[in-house]
Symmetry: C2
Subunit: 404 residues, 2 copies
């Protein structure tokens, strides 16, 4: 079956998370993603992990998570051979994505102005932490740092908590989604004759735009956005919106008509709070009263009586429980792939259904330079030239165990 | 200047957050978004707010945050007039986005199979909470509920905390980004001759894909993902990655070489922990030791000595402080618009820079049916037909104060 981005060639100079997730999203829909990695060690992410543990054969789970559907070219960008290789690749590329610190691509000779000369149709996307210029241009830009700078850490948790970062790479992952948003819009424009262009995405702007509603309230209602003292689920909402302990777990309760909610709790005295102002102003006191009732019975009880009453409720699941959820299984959100070294891996599937151009997980994450030889040949380098590049160390290929 | 999505007609049946944010992202890049709202009251979000406060003239900040760059058509979808209006609009639309519960569009007569007959080039995107079918198809799907079901609430905070929702509409906003990802890819495919198609996006799959790395670790390293007892910033990381109290605020500290970090702290005894396994296994004890040092001096002190040493550090800002940050000002992330009723509003700017097709905030969020008359005329309805539709109540327009 066709894929939406079939034939789109992406020249991918990114590493770590933001860029690789973005190019993976393009690859998932059919783009031909060529990952240009450092010779030898490759993407820095390959040397990082979580829990101080590694996937089989010392592979990095962080790298493996974000690099399927790509081919790897291991190239020393500082060599003269690299100038020729990148020139050839850029000439035929539709999209280039890079997330070096600002200025690095220029210094390497692969800046936008240089490559647009070679290929005016190129869509050239630079992704940074804080932006391509400005007062923080030389500061390190990284997910946790941006979460803190963008205000997000003060939005979660309770009034007395310290700032709480989200336990996933919120900003990197949002930055990736913004790269995809910009690149696909630019590709569409180009396809209608608009030519190539340069796009700039950064983590800080991505996080701010993501919190658009929260900033809107803050800037236009003339009032701060204080975290509740209790488990109310958002600084802007009143009771009962929140997360409640049951006798054996937790449930989330969203916006619900108060009288219907109170009737399910069988707590008629809570009707004294039946006023939106009171539900907001006294939300913490009300939360405690609700929780004292909900905590007496198990999750399954509340799920059935609340769903029966058409209330908005769901159990809170641990990450470990998600894959076995019946709806998640129905959605087929996890699939297996075979990695040349790490073996069978369970990975996340494409989250969107397309009726005529479905996404596919068709290549495992590559070894460093696994496709160096194949790509150089694809782009017209002779056997001799390729041999010379390997001999000089301009390119490498970690392929011993997979090529036959 | 041209915009990337100039001329793309989006027929927008969405309300609340997920859909409107998505269509706003399309409108920000130039698409002509026609928001089809209920007659009279319009989008449900118009009657919801935060903090139990409202923008001037009772306008909803939630609605105002997600509906700029759109025109509003207030139409009673159950009338026969609506059949004719939607048929005409759908015939010329490039994209349709809807986020009713599964089955509603079919019952209204605007299901995919019906509209593709009228316009085979249409890209028809349905957005739901849990998916278009499956065991939870009849359950309410909403942001907080999905945060809990997708495991995200157990990833943030400390070991002893209850599950912590992110204090922004994480899943709705991610769902929006996935709509944009799918729609733009499908538009590109169509522009190359691939025709229209149906796309399905849901909150649960979007959140799972967003946590791809966390699920990868969980499923392939054979170990759970326990939250740290201290302020370490991610369940998978060791010290010093985390958020530390200073004498006057908080700083975030990302991945840093331990010896360099310890030397900046002037705490040579911490070198006893210089081993990745120890930094992970004893992360909470190490966190406390680091915080006992960092909490003695102000944020500004640590920022200057850590930046000087090229460490990855940033201050943690409150939402209220973000707009005044020098880099945020440099990025021009907040702009003002004039709303016909609520007056001057400060809104979030486009987070991506395009060199040749910049995004623009060019229309304030509309009043309910503000463009009903204009749109019906655009689509060829006669004055008499329009008058009849108003007379029968099939359409409405809240325009008294803005039309002259």
């Amino acid at each position: 079956m066709a894929q939406a981005l079939d034939g789109v060639r992406v020249l991918d100079f990114t590493q770590l998370l933001q860029g690789p997730y973005a190019t993976q999203m393009l690859g998932d829909l059919g783009a031909d993603v060529i990952k240009v990695e450092r010779t030898g060690k490759g993407d820095i992410h390959r040397s990082m992990t979580f829990l101080n543990r590694w996937a089989p054969e010392g592979e990095s789970p962080c790298f493996l998570a974000w690099n399927r559907n790509k081919r790897s070219l291991a190239l020393d960008l500082k060599t003269s051979a690299a100038q020729e290789v990148i020139t050839r690749l850029a000439r035929k590329a539709d999209v280039l994505v890079e997330n070096f610190r600002p200025g690095v691509m220029d210094r390497l000779g692969f800046g936008y102005e240089t490559l647009r000369e070679i290929n005016p149709q190129l869509i050239y996307c630079s992704a940074t932490g804080w932006g391509a210029d400005g007062p923080y241009v030389d500061r390190p830009g990284q997910d946790l740092l941006v979460q803190g700078m963008g205000g997000a850490m003060w939005a979660s948790g309770r009034a007395d908590d310290p700032p709480i970062p989200l336990g996933t790479a919120l900003c990197d992952q949002l930055g990736a989604m913004h790269i995809v948003y910009g690149v696909l819009a630019a590709l569409y424009h180009r396809q209608r004759g608009g030519g190539g262009q340069r796009i700039e995405v950064n983590l800080l702007s991505s996080l701010i735009a993501f919190q658009m509603q929260d900033f809107f309230v803050l800037h236009n209602l003339g009032q701060g956005f204080p975290r509740p003292a209790s488990g109310i689920g958002h600084p802007g909402f009143g009771a009962p919106f929140g997360v409640y302990r049951t006798s054996d777990g937790y449930i989330s309760v969203a916006m619900n008509p108060w009288s219907k909610f109170v009737s399910v709790l069988e707590a008629a005295d809570l009707m004294q709070y039946d006023d939106p102002r009171v539900l907001f102003d006294r939300r913490d006191e009300i939360f405690e009263k609700i929780e004292s009732i909900i905590s007496c019975k198990p999750t399954q009880h509340w799920m059935s009586v609340m769903l029966e009453a058409d209330l908005w409720v769901a159990p809170v699941k641990r990450l470990e429980e998600v894959a076995d959820d019946p709806q998640v299984r129905h959605l087929n959100m996890f699939v297996e792939i075979e990695h040349p070294r790490a073996g069978r891996l369970k990975v996340t599937n494409i989250p969107i259904q397309f009726s005529s151009t479905p996404g596919r997980v068709h290549r495992p994450p590559p070894l460093v330079g696994q496709h160096t030889r194949e790509l150089l040949a694809d782009y017209g380098f002779t056997e001799e030239q390729i041999r010379d590049m390997f001999a000089s160390g301009a390119v490498t290929a970690d392929t011993d165990e997979v090529q036959t």
